[in-house]
Symmetry: C2
Subunit: 520 residues, 2 copies
């Protein structure tokens, strides 16, 4: 239990007779005994807020800090528990107590009031402030903040099983590429991408997504995030400043479109996917959707809806942006052909290697209708002159050699087992939750009865217990009616998934108690 | 000499008694004898313009086409010569005659007038039209066009010796990286770049550019082109819509800034670099410059000018964007410290691996003043979520292991020998030319007396002879007074350089004769 030797306080000494710690130069001896816990909690919160205790740093062991400050170990334990309930620290015991979240704004830093002279209006009850990534409306750096917040079990959606990344095959392909590449290919290149990868993508899309295309149609990009920016820029120059989106739908996608000046009128999604009647009513001239596996609900765009949507595009000349982010991953259902395969002139198709291999590759492809092609090439040229050549060549090699296909089959088996583990754990630990969208993809969504606590509170309580998830409400523009959580399962082992969902069960009960207290 | 077996016309037959070729279905039998050359030239120009004869395709051997059309071989030879002088085709003899340049605009396509019924206002004299990349004002895709135009000897500036790219070291570093990388590093990452590369860049800049920085100051980007876009976006949001530039100065840089909505007021450059008095007079709040080796003149920003420039920044609060594109390459002069090392609060420093290793890596670094840092990180996030992780890790490995340093020393020796070869060849073949900026970098600029032909004509004549260069006037916003050529020498062998400069001598004489004829 005693990990003081590895704690941040290692080497600290109690200096002579003065009660105090070298850790943050804490001194609470002069504070009346009844307010010492408040003072200590306030000091620690301030240190977390102003960066002296950065996310990831470790608090001293309770025994050590108690000895330094000459207070009871119980007092320190109580203070740590408050911070834990706030979601600012996590862990205990052998792993130590670690800072997991700083308040989002510097304004929240001064919870102790002015200076250190007296105990300020400290959050004596944990419900008074929950300075976690889930406390405020998510800002534009929310995903960076969440990512840099450590957690024992990370169930954020959006990544495949990264441990399956074919390192050996990648290296073999890179060796082959480097052996054969002409020197000129290391100079400035075609902003549309290398001919080899554009050809490989055409073959891949023909085989797996039913899309017929020519390499000249393909623009290689740095992932779907870049695609959204390029599309928004080109549409803006075309006078289109609103791109309708699914609701619920990806928060990250909306943030990207907003950054590039596009409004995102929400269009409701039901069990057949986006409501095309509602899309028509928005008057939007472009719509972005995830027809193969809607994010986050996981529904598939139904046959009648597809026809309606294509009719909308033909009638209005509207542009459909098809974000085919995880369509290669499916388990219990037949493949759904891409919209692009049905109406190439109205569909701008975006796919990427992020869910096939790894997001860190930053490689994707965009197939635009002819009317936008030239403008998108120009946008890519002036974004970055085109993607790096070597990774393009390596990916092309993996696609054309059949390695990627083999990997995809392997990953599908692994992902399916993981999905089954999540569902079983939800049945056990969250019996009141409904599971959505589990037939395909890398994540599923669970929703709770409307009376359950807000999902941001659930997510905060889960993070305080070391489990990271997305609250469904992040992805909803309008109130969704039910709290929910989006669980990415592909990158975790069945054991981690079972444990993670068990923690969500605890979090639900804790948040429920807290809501109950709050209401009492 | 007879390469008809390998020509595009292979397999064509003269069909019965009708004089005509399967090649483009050419028929000129009914055209009066005196106008046949005009007609044939017009038909070929039209086919090049409309894409039936794409760049890189081969014309039939003169003997074969003459036989098919039942005209004299001399007539076909004359027509090919006209196209060669226009810069539309190149080569002859064993290599065949190859299409090297299509006209820039489709409007230029109809040189034969309306349809094929009669001989239109064909350019009977080669001087009437020069549909090469150099014929019109360069458009936004000029560098793509020029790159895709084949040439025997490519002297376009901007690339190091690509044959020196350390393929084995790169692969070794990649193996080491893949062996040690945690799986989580393959997920979404910090948009600022990996900590390893940011640290390696800090060490590199401290060693070679005199810059003291913290890894937190470094933003990893996809090369300087991306940096320009990010900076222009951030300045625009700050109300700054003009970035003063050096004149002459890089055309590509100006195109990027214009794409992002920034005007580029020109500031003259003299033998001490940018004229700071003229910069003050523009009233611009930002300036982009290349102080270590001005592009394209190669001058170094003098000591007094540096002080003036820094005073301008302090006085006006203006931003200096320092494009340190090739500062690691120097031969006969001491290193010039970066402006960033003198006034970090006012200098946004951009460097890249493009001239150190290869442009195809698309990797660079940006060090911004604190006031712009957060906005630039956001701009990078919404551009592409950050650079790919593996190449960052590999580059960091090469920087920290000393491999890149060894390579830089090797390249310096090689580049110096190449530079010496160009200078010697210029003395021999272009004795009237003055050489500028040869003490450092990867290119030098030569200028001719004012009476020499326009440099776009020189460049076109050189391209027609298989040698690709940039005309200096491309890089000048205001008339520069002297025609000139920018010669990139780093990627060519001394033999190629000598031959290339000899061809420039021929081109100069040919363009001179043509100008003389035009004036007669």
């Amino acid at each position: 239990m005693d990990r003081s030797k590895e704690s941040a306080v290692e080497g600290s000494v109690t200096s002579g007779g003065v009660a105090g710690s070298d850790f943050l130069q804490l001194r609470i001896g002069e504070v009346p005994a009844g307010r010492r816990a408040d003072r200590l909690a306030g000091e620690l919160r301030r240190a977390i807020a102003d960066g002296r205790l950065p996310v990831g740093s470790r608090l001293p062991a309770t025994r050590v800090l108690a000895a330094d400050l000459r207070v009871s170990r119980g007092l320190v334990t109580e203070v740590y528990q408050r911070l834990r309930e706030d979601g600012q620290v996590a862990g205990r015991g052998r792993g130590g107590t670690v800072v997991v979240a700083a308040p989002l704004s510097a304004g929240a830093a001064t919870t102790t009031g002015g200076g250190t002279a007296g105990p300020g209006p400290t959050a004596a009850t944990p419900t008074a402030a929950t300075p976690t990534p889930f406390a405020a409306a998510p800002g534009s750096d929310i995903f960076d903040t969440l990512r840099s917040t450590p957690a024992r079990i990370d169930l954020t959606p959006g990544v495949p099983d990264l441990a399956s990344f074919p390192r050996a095959a990648w290296l073999r392909a890179e060796r082959a590429v480097l052996a054969g590449l002409p020197s000129a290919a290391l100079g400035y290149g075609d902003p549309r991408g290398t001919p080899e990868l554009r050809r490989a993508v055409v073959h891949w899309l023909a085989r797996y997504r039913g899309i017929r295309a020519d390499p000249a149609d393909v623009l290689i990009i740095s992932g779907t995030a870049q695609a959204l920016g390029l599309i928004a820029q080109v549409l803006h120059r075309d006078g289109v400043d609103a791109i309708a989106v699914e609701d619920p739908g990806s928060l990250g996608t909306r943030q990207h479109l907003h950054h590039w000046g596009a409004a995102t009128p929400p269009v409701p999604v039901d069990e057949d996917g986006i409501r095309v009647d509602a899309l028509r009513a928005t008057g939007a001239r472009a719509v972005l959707l995830t027809p193969a596996h809607q994010f986050p609900t996981g529904v598939v765009l139904g046959g009648a809806r597809r026809r309606d949507l294509l009719r909308w595009a033909s009638d209005t000349g509207g542009l459909i942006v098809e974000d085919d982010y995880d369509a290669e991953h499916r388990y219990d259902r037949p493949p759904v052909p891409a919209l692009r395969s049905l109406l190439a002139d109205h569909v701008c198709y975006a796919g990427s290697a992020s869910k096939l291999l790894a997001p860190a590759l930053r490689l994707g492809w965009l197939l635009a209708p002819p009317r936008y092609r030239e403008a998108l090439v120009a946008a890519k040229r002036f974004a970055d002159l085109g993607n790096a050549a070597l990774p393009q060549a390596v990916l092309a090699h993996l696609m054309e050699s059949g390695e990627l296909e083999r990997l995809m089959r392997q990953m599908r088996r692994r992902h399916r087992a993981r999905r089954d583990a999540v569902i079983a754990a939800v049945r056990t630990h969250l019996p009141a939750a409904a599971v959505h969208g589990a037939a395909a993809g890398l994540h599923l969504t669970i929703t709770f009865p409307p009376a359950a606590p807000p999902d941001t509170e659930l997510a905060a309580a889960a993070l305080a217990r070391g489990v990271k998830v997305h609250p469904l409400s992040w992805h909803s523009q309008r109130p969704y009616g039910r709290p929910g959580l989006v669980l990415g399962y592909a990158a975790r082992t069945p054991g981690e998934l079972t444990e993670g969902v068990a923690v969500l069960g605890e979090a639900l009960r804790a948040a429920g108690r807290r809501s109950g207290e709050g209401g009492a």
